[in-house]
């Protein structure tokens, strides 16, 4: 034993003691944090911990009205899928629909009522209570109503259907206001007008892509955003690879290849705005070849004389041989179907173009035929198709605001500051309205200009219902039920309206306690119209079964017989499109298209959609301008060069993307980015091409002719790297793409470095 003196011993004992303590604490610090098992106070009936509960509801991300099934666990929504029972989407769901969860859980949601505290647009808001907010708006409305000045109140909502639309209607009528405006940027006004004129019906027919063997699409990007993309995708798959032995043929005519164009068998680029002329040339060939045997054959021959294939070849840039070949196969391959939409419908001749498309369907005998176009029956339900406001209507409204005719504007979900061109001066017009109230769930560009924000629930938290338009050849309805309890201090849009009605003492006309009651009451009427079997089960069990299935359908069918009004024939004709800006100063036609990710911009605040590469270019996050490589060569531009896109009405700046499948005199830009507000994911990202659109309109409907703007491209000398997932769009001898001609002779992919396109002289 070594010698240790007392002092050293004490030191060692001290050190030992401290280290025992340190060891003790070391173990203590390494212990797992205590976890708790928090039980319910009272167990809810409809869920068990650890088990998923699925609720059927309705998607509200776009106007298609797909049915959804939402998987919830412990009372929280976890996943959105398509409802297999819903005839529109039959279990399918697009990415935007799936991203609905990020609407619900978005960190930028408005969590309670707010009041603007200083100048509009300054972004300084203070929190208020619901009572204060409702009181401020309700007392104002009550005063105006009492003074019989209700028409000084306007409501601008995104397209709403079902009983909520009826509630809005009713509410505005009680107020004495005719200023209820439904507005969606992408609403197909021209399609409604063309069908109204041709079929005499103010509703869309059902386009039977499932059974068609030959689809001619004039600009309609039916796989991405035309009317009901999920349903059309199902139809496309069925027609291509379904039960029939004959593979459906798809032909797409558009100046810039969309996702539908990429999926087509043949892609043709007609000069922008001449699609209708092309359709009439096809019709001319059908009639002149004696392939139409109807009694009104002679009338058609007269009406179509000016539209010979030879003449149309000159006007459209599509070779005469192609025109006659298309016309022949449209008759030979049955059933066939022609559809029109997208850019083709957004020109100054939009309605005439879509009328021309209907002519093709008429001559080929596709109307009322399986695989053609089925007329929908008159909606038997109480809930009719809402009247959408066109661009001109909004301009009139803005003018009324400037004239001081509007005292209160109530906004619901619509974001016109973003979806109207700057030339409309809508934002400026808002300044003339003393009280702007927004019911939006997010601080979008228009809501930022509001004095008072009464935020709504998201669609996953509210009661609602929807009657998809077009119907499926029979009426379809679906109830939207809350799948989670409200996350924040928000209220259902319907409940806000009902509360205002009570405040205005018009509660007798709107007697419901809340939206759930209103919907249930409305569905009681649907139930009462039902057949004996429906009535036998009693309303409660009918209601439960509708909620459980998430959808309800009636068996009524539309007229299969259709007689064309003779006056239609003589009025057929398509004028050349008008563009704003001279060809010398603005040599390119701007082709703005709805982004597959963001729809009209409403999806831009969802990180999933921001991260999803664009299907055609694989670009993520930003904006870009697509141009043909030959155009870029002329302008001495390469990918990533920043250019100014100038129109008569403004300039935006975006990087160039070389896109082989676009006409040389057309440049394309996706719509959806370029938000100045709308939360952290959307804000200050990319540019909004709607801003620079010319206020050219389609004269019949007053719809904005959004494809009628000419632009100039001015290089800035600066560059920015495009964020995209694909390396090069060229094959570079890798033989990734194999080519085979129609006779089955294999062609080498070598040398086919870009997609051949129809050359057009600008």
């Amino acid at each position: 034993m070594p010698n240790i003196d007392r002092r050293d011993f004490l030191k060692l004992v001290g050190a030992g003691g401290v280290s025992v303590g340190a060891g003790f604490m070391l173990r203590e610090a390494n212990k797992d944090a205590t976890e708790y098992l928090i039980p319910h106070v009272v167990a809810p009936e409809d869920f068990s911990s650890g088990l998923a509960t699925w609720y059927n509801s309705v998607c509200s991300m776009c106007p298609a009205g797909c049915g959804i099934s939402v998987r919830t666990r412990e009372g929280l929504a976890k996943k959105i899928e398509g409802n297999p029972a819903h005839p529109v989407n039959q279990g399918g769901l697009c990415s935007l629909g799936q991203a609905g969860l990020q609407v619900l859980y978005n960190p930028d949601r408005l969590t309670g009522p707010l009041k603007q505290t200083s100048a509009r647009g300054s972004g300084s808001f203070e929190q208020i209570t619901w009572d204060e907010g409702l009181d401020q708006l309700g007392s104002r409305l009550d005063l105006l109503r009492a003074a019989r000045r209700g028409n000084r109140v306007a409501m601008l909502t995104q397209g709403v259907r079902g009983h909520l639309a009826q509630l809005f209607d009713n509410f505005m009528r009680q107020l004495g206001s005719q200023r209820l405006l439904h507005y969606d940027f992408n609403h197909p006004h021209t399609l409604y007008a063309a069908n109204q004129r041709f079929f005499g019906q103010d509703r869309l027919p059902y386009y039977d892509l499932h059974n068609t063997r030959m689809l001619l699409s004039f600009g309609a990007d039916y796989l991405t955003n035309w009317i009901s993309p999920v349903h059309h995708s199902l139809g496309f798959g069925e027609s291509r690879q379904g039960s029939s032995n004959e593979r459906g043929r798809f032909i797409q005519i558009e100046p810039r290849m969309s996702a539908s164009g990429a999926a087509a068998d043949e892609w043709l680029a007609a000069k922008p705005g001449t699609e209708g002329i092309l359709a009439l040339a096809l019709a001319n060939h059908i009639v002149s070849e004696g392939n139409y045997a109807g009694a009104d054959r002679a009338d058609w021959a007269v009406a179509l004389t000016d539209y010979t294939p030879a003449k149309a070849a000159e006007q459209t840039g599509i070779p005469q041989s192609t025109i006659t070949r298309l016309a022949d196969s449209f008759i030979d391959i049955q059933p066939s179907l022609a559809i029109g939409g997208g850019a083709a419908a957004n020109h100054s001749n939009g309605v005439d173009t879509l009328m021309a498309v209907n002519v093709l369907n008429y001559l080929a005998g596709n109307i009322g035929q399986e695989g053609g176009l089925l007329l929908n029956p008159e909606p038997t339900s109480v809930v009719s198709q809402q009247q959408q406001a066109s661009y001109s209507t909004l301009l009139e409204f803005a003018e009324a605001a400037r004239q001081g005719e509007i005292d209160v504007l109530i906004l619901n979900g619509s974001n016109p500051v973003f979806t109207l061109p700057q030339a409309s001066e809508f934002r400026e017009a808002l300044a003339s309205i003393p009280l702007v109230v927004s019911l939006s769930s997010f601080l979008d560009e228009t809501t930022a200009m509001a004095d008072l924000i009464l935020p709504s629930h998201t669609y996953l938290e509210s009661w609602g219902d929807d009657f998809p338009e077009p119907g499926m050849g029979f009426p379809v309805g679906a109830v939207s039920q809350p799948v989670v309890s409200p996350l924040y201090n928000t209220r259902a849009t319907g409940d806000i309206i009902l509360a205002l009605a009570r405040q205005m003492n018009v509660g007798t006309a709107l007697p419901w306690e809340n939206m759930e009651e209103c919907i249930k009451d409305g569905w009681r009427q649907i139930y009462e119209r039902g057949d004996a079997q429906t009535l036998a089960q009693g309303f409660d069990s009918f209601w439960t079964s509708v909620l459980r299935a998430g959808v309800w359908g009636e068996t009524a069918a539309g007229d299969s017989e259709f007689t064309l009004d003779r006056s239609v024939i003589s009025n057929i004709g398509v004028q050349a499109p008008e563009f704003s800006g001279s060809e010398e100063d603005f040599p390119f036609i701007l082709h703005p298209y709805l982004s597959p990710n963001f729809y009209d911009g409403r999806g831009a605040n969802l990180p999933w959609m921001q991260e999803r590469p664009d299907p055609m270019t694989s670009v993520v996050y930003g904006s870009w301008v697509e141009m043909n490589p030959s155009t870029a060569k002329e302008l001495d531009l390469i990918e990533g060069d920043l250019v100014d896109i100038q129109s008569l009405h403004g300039t935006v700046r975006a990087p160039v993307y070389l896109y082989p499948a676009i006409m040389p005199n057309v440049v394309a830009m996706p719509i959806g980015q370029g938000h100045q507000e709308f939360g952290r994911y959307a804000k200050d990202r990319g540019v909004n091409p709607i801003e620079i659109l010319s206020p050219e309109i389609e004269p019949i409907t007053g719809q904005l002719a959004s494809s009628a703007t000419r632009v100039n491209i001015v290089p800035t000398g600066r560059r920015s790297k495009l964020v995209k997932t694909s390396g090069t769009s060229r094959d570079l001898g890798r033989e990734i793409v194999q080519f085979a001609d129609v006779n089955g002779v294999e062609l080498s992919s070598a040398g086919s470095n870009s997609i051949p396109i129809t050359e057009v002289t600008a």
């Binding site: 070594p2 280290s19 025992v20 604490m25 173990r27 708790y36 098992l37 106070v41 167990a43 088990l51």
Partner: protein, 190 residues
């Protein structure tokens, strides 16, 4: 020249002793904590006794843990379930009064979790209950415990107190019972 390292080693001796004492101290402190405060039977907000409920009164496990046969998690009974019986039974005891104060305030009881598996293990009660595995196989003799204690199953099949579940223990049971795909990684790690 005669060189020795002994003198310099002698100088180091106090330092060496200090190091040894400190290390021993650390180990001792660490062990003492592990041995005397294992944290495997934490105190609960209410001194609920499984011995009285499951042992003496022979209430079946799934009377309260109703979801064990339906769901991945066995579930903790809601406060209303406890109150359902205790509105009538033993109402004067202090622990029951405590229960009733939670009920009166409509507050949940924050039970401390004892049995836990890492998040990368997808264990489901449903499968095991449907395969008629006794609850005690994994949870030990719960019916004898006044306060629940972390227990797992030793290699010889006996209950092993204060020891968390490890993969080997799952596997040995899966092997013994020839569970279909019972040793497949993806059965538990999805």
């Amino acid at each position: 020249m005669n060189v020795s390292i002994v003198p310099s080693l002698k100088k180091l001796r106090p330092v060496a002793m200090l190091v040894i004492v400190v290390l021993l101290g650390l180990v001792l402190g660490y062990w003492a904590n592990a041995a005397f405060l294992p944290g495997t039977s934490p105190e609960q907000p209410i001194a609920f006794s499984h011995r009285i409920h499951a042992g003496e009164n022979e209430i079946p496990c799934m009377y309260c843990h109703t979801q064990a046969r339906l769901s991945p998690s066995a579930g903790v009974p809601s406060v209303s379930k406890c109150v359902g019986c205790h509105l009538e039974i033993a109402t004067e005891r202090p622990q029951i009064r405590r229960l009733m104060s939670y009920w009166d305030n409509q507050e949940p009881i924050p039970w401390v979790k004892v049995h836990d598996l890492p998040d990368f293990v997808h264990f489901t009660h449903k499968r095991h209950v449907l395969a008629e595995v006794e609850c005690q196989t994994c949870h030990g003799p719960v019916e004898t415990m006044d306060r629940i204690r972390l227990t797992s199953r030793a290699a010889d099949g006996t209950a092993q107190a204060n020891h968390p579940w490890e993969m080997g223990q799952c596997l040995s049971c899966h092997r013994e019972n020839e569970v279909e795909n019972g040793t497949d990684c993806w059965t538990c790690h999805k």
